[in-house]
Symmetry: D2
Subunit: 297 residues, 4 copies
């Protein structure tokens, strides 16, 4: 695999060149102790099969901070509660699925009863957090508290809590988990303070010599990692894997180079964009990077 | 134009069929008084030239609620302060642009001095909001307060405030404006409460007979409009315009039908997805819909 | 409509800027008598509802040459024989459709009996062409001969023949019509000579002061129009509408600028790429261009 | 690598599920002696770094037939003549490149002098083919004749000729090589007969128990492999890797399932589409498939 990645890098142009360069950059992020690495997760990274991989990277201390959508947190919790996704198809009838108590993510199905289970568990876990803490809590604090209470060792929330890796979830309000937080807040004290999250995130970028950014998908998680690094003059190295397009001008599909003009990335030398599906590309890229790290150590 | 849209609808399949159907659905949303219409804005909708159009729709009471990224709010404020984007190119050197004090969005350039101007103005506007209000403020309240203070009648924030149309910005933290809010909060009291936003948004969906959703781009704004409607059993009609793909499983590119299985959309009958750039398609679609409304009235 | 296009052009950046610029370029191609205009058709342009529009442009002498896939020729002939597509859905079961004698193009259905009808008719039409001609025939000659024999005045083949507009079909072998030509050739003399086509196409580019290229979709038709113009130093103006991406390096998604380095396009000044579905965008763009032509005349 | 692919297949949904399934199907095509495998090449497969891989697969008799664009043949010949691509960037100025004698494919550069070298060599090679043969030659015969005359053992044309693997090039006219064939034909006898190609291709699909299709990119090569198999009732197994979209209705982005309704594919059981860049995905997929073949043998 490492050889294939090297051959691809030797092409130096087009997709193979970008894949090979990304493997080299990722290997540097993983092996150079000066780096703190942040990974952003948008799209169905956890339900799409990368849960084990991300947990392993956190457990091996190769990732220092996570910025994610609420959906990925929701799915980590669903799996921690013992629920598995079902195999469906993108051509199933959605009205029928709803009647059957199933919700669809492309060809993956989630049982509504799992989501109801999550609701109850969320309330129980919130009740175990002290009211004073709940009155002004960052998402990373909340998710560490949840991680402590989840019994599943394969859980990203639990592993992140064990390794003191913060999970930032700036759009936590916008997810199934977020609905539970909102309904809870209507009866019991709960105030999430995203400013605390941002302070923690910015502090982390200051306390390290180098920042590496691993960007899976676009969305707010991508932009959030980058903008938090603008105070320190930008990240030092970044790779992104996305199917979003640049022409529309949205941040999701923007080339990493564009972020240089905003001061969110330092220079062009350690950047690689791979146009592709992160759930396919990232496991292969990580394999290539880790083999390279092993060889050189 | 109305004729062309009708001819396109007559094709009934492929892109023209979807464009024609979307025009019909939009015309219904605009003419049927039972509808409250929510528009979601992701990507450079405001800097991409749709500011006037969105302001007009709000001014004419055709849009009742807005869910947007922080970036679009930021750009509305920049323009309200008198700054205009510059015309660049997607092939410009970003390190050079940074040295010149210019930041890039594809082929559009923003002056850093405009962003500095925004920072000062934001602080001034925040100071004029009472401290008690600032200690627990929803984004829609904050943006109405800003709207009141902006003197530009072409401003979306100002027009929305005049028309009592709330602008929800669940990811406000993740924008240039959001950075200003965060730095302000480190010295002065400011606590944004997204739960208040969500309560307002959900209440609005309950207080209307029908909900129409106009989804420009994907991201959190898209998902947020839809998830807020899950309590009432889903939106009644929806159109989306996006270049994001469905296969990766992310919410941005998901077909509207998928949301039926989640209870966020009611049924398949009044749904249309157009694969395209919202800044190109939406003005043309609106023209077709409004011509149709005029003819039938 | 013309006003909307002008407003879009005034944005000068992102999608609206490109749409507006494309409208201006197309208006020039349509109004400046020095231009010979070539249109390339890839993807379901004819079955996707643009048959009437393309026929009108040919009939009004706004298009001087066509380069198309065999599929678009096949569908023009099917419609000329009285067959209409059926409205399906992209989620239908294809094995079931096959049993029902239906073939699918996304959400459009074609009856197999229509294709059988085409086969018989093709043989009859070929029989009416003299054997000597059949032994060395260009695709544009063949399609003119077919056009003469088709009774449908809405047919592109017939209209093109009437207007002496050649239809070049370099991949004619690769279509349902092409299969019929191949089976015919196994029993009766038929030799298609694409070199004759190319000579005619190159001659046309020499005999005009200016060449305009209207590129709908990518594929061989796009590349063929451009490469044929390399002998004269490139086309003078070009617009393209495509959903294909540039990053993979394929010609279909390549920016027009790239063709300058190959000598297929003259300079950057009269080029516009719109990322979108040609069957949606082209009718709207043509409307905008024709309104502009009318106003200035 | 084989383990990673198995883990991905275990996900069974979304991108990883499709990658894993594709690896399984490809392993079956490579190991089951009943299969004749056809590969289609569209986009810069050869200049994009897959030349060695494709040559190896042909040399190991894992591929029995090739359908390609003219551009890939052109680039194989350029490399066989000793020319290498240069490393550029997608932001270079194309007018400037032209003045420097360089032509661009995204971030890859080709020297015009290499293309001139190819022209002379093509004429020399054509002169060495007997006039009688030249008067009625299939593309696969022509490319075997060229393969015989090329001295580079890394050449796809040479290796294919040695292994008697036909290279079908239905759009040969539409390439730099095609221009050379056309100019030659204006002075010397040369008549390419695509009907002979198609007869050979169809015969091959009849003479094998099973047909496997490996589709890299879309375009005419994809469609050509599939349509040629419609006479035998469709291919038995197929994988495709493409960045093209399905919604526009073009054959390039169409899901493989659609081809079932046309009788070009037998059933849904052995089909997998990976949304991605073939030059990135195919080397990794092949590695996974070959490891699996080795393990089971």
């Amino acid at each position: 695999m490492s050889n294939v990645a090297k051959q691809m890098e030797a092409v130096r142009v087009l997709g193979p060149g970008r894949f090979g360069r990304a493997a080299t950059i990722l290997a540097e992020m993983f092996s150079d102790q000066n780096y703190s690495n942040f990974i952003s997760l948008a799209g169905p990274i956890i339900p799409g099969g990368l849960r084990t991989l991300i947990v392993d990277l956190v457990d091996q201390r190769l990732i220092d901070g996570i910025v994610t959508t609420g959906a990925n947190v929701t799915h980590d919790m669903l799996e921690a509660l013992g629920h598995r996704h079902l195999v469906g198809s993108e051509t199933l009838n959605d009205a029928k699925l709803k009647r059957l108590g199933l919700s669809r993510i492309y060809d993956l199905l989630v049982e509504q009863k799992a989501i109801e289970h999550l609701e109850k568990t969320t309330y129980q876990m919130l009740n175990r957090i002290s009211e004073s803490k709940r009155r002004n809590i960052a998402t990373y604090e909340l998710l560490w508290d949840f991680g402590k209470q989840l019994l599943d060792n394969h859980s990203l929330l639990r592993t992140a809590q064990k390794r003191s890796v913060p999970i930032f979830c700036p759009g936590i309000f916008d997810s199934m988990l977020g609905l539970n937080l909102w309904t809870y807040s209507r009866l019991d004290p709960l105030m999430i303070n995203p400013f605390k999250d941002f302070s923690k995130l910015v502090d982390m970028t200051y306390e390290t010599k180098k920042v590496g950014a691993v960007i899976l998908g676009g969305g707010m998680p991508k932009h959030h990692v980058l903008i938090a690094n603008s105070y320190r003059g930008g990240v030092d190295a970044a790779i992104q894997i996305t199917l979003d397009r640049p022409e529309g001008g949205g941040a999701s599909g923007a080339p990493l180079e564009e972020a240089i003009s905003w001061g969110k990335i330092k220079n062009e030398k350690k950047l690689a964009t791979i146009v592709g599906d992160a759930t396919v590309i990232f496991p292969l890229l990580t394999l290539a990077a880790l083999e390279r790290v092993k060889k050189s150590s």
